[in-house]
């Protein structure tokens, strides 16, 4: 037997408080009015005639009190929500499935005069369960948010379990009950059957993809989980929806193409509460304040805006600050980070035939450009992009010229390399053509960033053109037809260099005359330089991402550095903040992770329904019963108080007292029936029933003058 509702101390306090009250009322009831009489001897004669035995007299005086104490005991134990988990003789196997998602950090669980987090409340309940286990019961601690993992093996030692439990902490990831239950199911699939005890705040959208029974085919959901036969218990948390929650749901930044030092920041926030809140959002770049904006959000409102900021730095951070008296119970979603995109600072080397259109377009771009005739080209010219000194070039544009050796460093743009037939082609040529061609495909509905705002629809090619054969990991940029005649491709070298090949001469096309040509060149240079024109968004926590980087260490937001091995790494950021990949201690790449989950930021507990969309597959056998329906606490509390009031008035003498006591019993009966219909059939229902029956017995015996 364990109690999932009130703690033992709280139950004892309640019992002491109300027990004292009952005792006081009983003493008041026993307090007899003093009536002076002159015919005392007559009363004596009458009483002696109807005298009962001493035992009967003693019993009848305490019977009513005992009944009342029993009723009180039943009610207090009911509030404790007793569960007969260890009722069998066989040892139990329990999976304690703890929700460690971000919403569990919300500090809205009343604990005395203060509030504790949902996680602390869940841990306290789990601790109670562990302490009540029998010696041979096996327990496994499993946590789940976006992903689930075992935190212990099957343990029988309560000390080990408690030690592991204390080490756990909630993550910053959104919750996914399906993941947790799937994991628990897998854990229990081996070995003897066991029970799953679920500790969650149910602060997420109702699960639509978990089914009790066969999964209906009509149910169109991504993951379908059939938990038939799973002995599942839900331990609800005593959440007091005292405040609101403000959350950042989007943060992204991009540099302005023409002004890399200025960026455009996309910001979105939501008020998941019900009341209007004034808030302020502060933007910081590398920890330095840059800008603030005030927002006023009514309940449920989402607000998005774009703001231009000077973005000279590596990290952008947005912080929400509540300016109202409303309490923001969850703080993890009040901060979001974004790693600012690298600003392209191209140091270009133009090698090849003169092309005024091309050169003019390049002159519009930020950065420097050096022009070298083909005959003057040496690999050494790359070392100093600005003669005689300067940094090495990082972008080479070969216009209809192919050097003897392809430079091993620097990104490259090759414009019609096949125009130099004598040279060894850096890209495998498929066909050559001298026909007039039109470019019909530039990425379809999802064009490459290079083709952003660029149209090749009316471009005519009349000179010689070359189509390329795609190598592995090459990506087509432009195609003449649907058969795959590739006129332009993109290639990323293993060393990280980027190459772009264009299979036609710009001079032999009217593309250079198009107004989109400078935009194309801007996009081309930006992409080749490794800069994307779009927003660099922050990564949602818990979402797995694949990284192919030459690194050997990963630095977490809290400063912890973990070694990593291999080029490929899948990272599901568990915490919000900035993660840095290091190579021998030097930063190579950074990513930012933020919660950014509207569902997770809706921290109000939702009805924990596990069903298909239509029809709901709800069965009484299902043991997740506690939070299946919204209990209307206020009317029920009012009914209980009215019942208590009526019962107290039931101490009045005569018919009025009887009527009041009857109404009191009726109020309690209505509460019991309401709860019975609303919740289910757990143990406390029997207790409430017993309390009600005892109440009726007490009422009946009292008013029949049996117990007095």
């Amino acid at each position: 037997m364990t109690f999932w509702g009130l703690s033992g101390a709280a139950m004892a306090q309640l019992a002491a408080l109300f027990g004292g009250l009952v005792f006081l009322l009983y003493m008041l009831k026993l307090r007899e009015r003093l009536i002076p009489v002159s015919a005392h001897f007559l009363w004596d004669r009458v009483i002696k005639a109807g005298q009962r035995s001493l035992l009967a007299r003693i019993l009848r005086r305490v019977f009513s009190f005992l009944l009342q104490m029993l009723i009180l005991g039943s009610v207090v134990i009911t509030l404790g929500d007793p569960r007969a988990i260890t009722t069998t003789d066989h040892p139990d196997r329990l999976v304690l499935l703890l929700d460690d998602s971000a919403s569990m950090r919300a500090r809205d669980v009343p604990h005395g005069a203060k509030y504790v987090t949902r996680w602390e409340n869940a841990v306290e309940k789990a601790r109670g369960l562990i302490l009540s286990k029998r010696d041979n019961d096996e327990i496994m601690l499993v946590t789940f948010s976006s992903r689930a993992s075992s935190r212990t093996s099957w343990e029988t030692d309560a000390v080990t379990l408690l030690s592991s439990l204390e080490k756990l902490s909630p993550t910053d990831m959104p919750g996914d009950l399906t993941t947790g239950l799937t994991y628990a199911q897998e854990v229990l699939s081996a070995g003897s059957p066991g029970k799953v005890i679920l500790f969650t705040d149910a602060a997420s959208e109702p699960e639509r993809n978990i089914f009790w029974g066969p999964v209906p085919e009509a149910c169109d959901v991504e993951k379908k989980l059939d938990i038939t036969g799973m002995d599942l218990y839900h331990v609800p948390l005593k959440i007091d929806p005292r405040g609101a929650n403000l959350a950042i749901t989007q943060l992204a930044a991009r540099p302005l193409p023409t002004d890399p030092d200025t960026g455009e920041v996309l910001f979105q926030a939501i008020n998941t509460g019900t009341s209007q809140i004034k808030t302020r959002v502060d933007f910081y770049v590398d920890g330095n304040w840059r800008e603030s904006r005030q927002l006023e959000l009514v309940g449920g409102q989402e607000k998005v805006f774009l703001i231009r900021l000077p973005l000279v730095g590596a990290q952008l951070e947005a912080r929400l600050k509540n300016m109202d008296s409303e309490v923001d119970t969850l703080s993890v979603d009040d901060r979001a980070w974004a790693v600012l995109p690298r600003k392209p600072q191209p140091r270009m080397l133009f090698v090849g035939r003169e092309n005024l259109f091309l050169e003019a377009a390049l002159l519009l771009l930020p950065g420097t450009i050096r022009k070298v005739a083909p005959e003057d080209y040496r690999p050494s010219v790359l070392e100093h992009c600005m003669e005689p000194v300067g940094d090495p070039c990082n972008l080479i544009i070969f216009n209809e010229f192919v050097p003897e050796s392809v430079p091993p460093t620097a990104n490259q743009i090759w414009v019609h390399p096949a125009a130099d037939p004598a040279a060894r082609q850096p890209f495998k040529v498929a066909t050559r053509s001298k026909e007039n061609l039109q470019i019909l495909w530039t990425g379809g509905h999802a064009p490459h960033p290079i083709m952003e705002s660029v149209s090749m629809k009316d471009v005519n090619l009349w000179g010689e053109s070359t189509s390329f054969q795609l190598a592995a990991k090459d990506r087509p940029l432009m195609q003449v037809d649907a058969r795959g005649t590739v006129l332009s491709l993109l290639r990323t070298m293993p060393t990280g260099q980027r190459q772009v090949a264009i299979g036609f001469s710009l001079q032999d096309s009217d593309f250079v005359l198009q107004i989109s040509f400078p935009v194309f060149m801007l996009n081309l240079v930006n992409w080749t330089m490794g800069s994307t024109p779009g927003f660099t968004a922050t990564y949602p926590t818990g979402e797995p991402r694949e990284f192919f980087l030459d690194t050997n260490q990963l630095k977490y937001p809290d400063g912890t550095v973990l070694p990593i091995s291999g080029a490929g790494l899948v990272l599901s950021p568990p915490r919000t903040g900035v993660y840095t990949f290091l190579k021998d201690g030097e930063p190579v790449h950074s990513i930012a992770a933020s919660l950014l989950s509207v569902d997770e930021s809706h921290i109000s507990p939702q009805p924990l329904e596990i069903s298909c969309r239509t029809p709901p597959v709800w069965q009484s056998k299902f043991v997740i019963w506690k939070a299946t329906k919204n209990i209307r606490w206020k009317p029920m509390l009012a009914l209980l108080l009215a019942g208590l009031g009526f019962l107290i008035m039931g101490y009045l003498r005569g018919a009025w007292g009887a009527a009041m006591a009857f109404f009191g019993a009726l109020c309690f009966a209505l509460c019991a029936v309401y709860l019975l219909l609303t919740w289910g059939y757990p143990a406390w229902v029997a207790l409430m029933g017993a309390a009600f029956v005892l109440l009726c017995v007490e009422w009946w015996t009292y008013h029949r003058r049996i117990t007095v």
């Binding site: 009536i35 005392h40 007559l42 007095v708």
Partner: protein, 310 residues
């Protein structure tokens, strides 16, 4: 729980206030009216003078008695001697006033009820005394609880009322009823034989028989007036109570139910019935007077049923 002594003292003050109020002008007017009523009721039957059984030298022939040594020769009925040849003397009724002793109970038990029984008893006693005095007889009012320390002799004339009122004012109310002691102390002082009106609730565990018999044995004509309050006749009690005997302070916890109330009322009925039967058996006029009964009704009953001022 209040102290019984304090409680009794409070009730006594209330009763005294009630009695004092009854001694006012209004009550005296009421008494005068009662006297007029009594004149109408008793007209033709009674005169101001009372005949006693004492044989003496009056004018009214009473009976014959055999001559004994020492009798006055003048009273020998010679006509009868002529017929019977035996000496008989003629006896005449002696005319004299008969004193009326109105004894009323002022013990603690009489301080109960609304109206207070002691006040009611006083009003009855005062009425009877006044009517007696107005009929030119002697009367006195004797409040009692136990043994009487003083016995104010009966007086004559309406003006006597004020002296009696003065005596009553100085009387302490409350105490344990002891009818036997009261009557014993009365008869031991050997007052003139006459009529004794005994007004009490007679609610005593020791009973009333001995007290009444004591008066009877000493040849007093007794009239019994039992005073009960409506709260005693039909108590409106319920629930858990602690009953306190106002005289002894003894308590008892009871839970009053309808059945218990019925049993109590039956017991009271039985008790009063036994008193009535006792009085009937001994030719003692008995009157039950609830305190809510108008005084006039009782007086008419007393006058009509006879026994008083015979």
């Amino acid at each position: 729980m209040p102290d019984p002594k304090v409680y009794v003292s409070q009730r006594a003050q209330l009763a005294k206030a009630g009695i004092e109020e009854s001694m006012g002008k209004d009550f005296l007017s009421e008494l005068e009216r009662l006297f007029l009523i009594s004149r109408q009721v008793l007209a033709g039957k009674l005169r101001a003078e009372r005949r006693t059984k004492k044989r003496g030298s009056g004018l009214e022939f009473a009976e014959h008695r055999e001559y004994n040594m020492g009798d006055d020769f003048r009273h020998i009925d010679w006509n009868l001697y002529g017929r019977l040849e035996k000496y008989f003397v003629r006896l005449y009724e002696e005319e004299e006033d008969i004193p009326v002793y109105v004894m009323f109970d002022v013990s603690s038990s009489m301080l109960e009820g609304t109206p207070i029984k002691a006040v009611h008893a006083f009003r009855i006693a005062a009425s009877l005394a006044y009517v007696t005095l107005a009929h030119l007889d002697r009367a006195t009012m004797l409040p009692f609880t136990g043994a009487m320390e003083q016995l104010h002799p009966p007086g004559r004339g309406k003006g006597r009322m004020f002296k009696m009122f003065h005596n009553i004012r100085n009387t302490n109310l409350g105490g344990v009823t002891d009818l036997v002691q009261a009557t014993r102390s009365f008869v031991f002082r050997r007052p003139r034989r006459g009529q004794v009106v005994l007004i009490s609730d007679f609610l005593s565990a020791e009973g009333y028989e001995e007290a009444i018999n004591l008066l009877r044995y000493h040849r007093y004509r007794v009239i019994v007036v039992q005073v009960l309050s409506p709260q005693e006749i039909a108590p409106k009690l319920s629930g858990d109570l602690e009953l306190m005997d106002v005289e002894t302070g003894q308590t008892r916890s009871i839970t009053v139910t309808a059945n218990l109330l019925r049993a109590y009322m039956a017991e009271l009925q039985k008790y009063t019935e036994s008193l009535r039967t006792f009085c009937q058996d001994h030719a003692i006029p008995y009157f039950l007077s609830p305190t809510d009964q108008p005084l006039e009704t009782l007086m008419l009953d007393v006058f009509r049923k006879g026994g008083f001022l015979r």
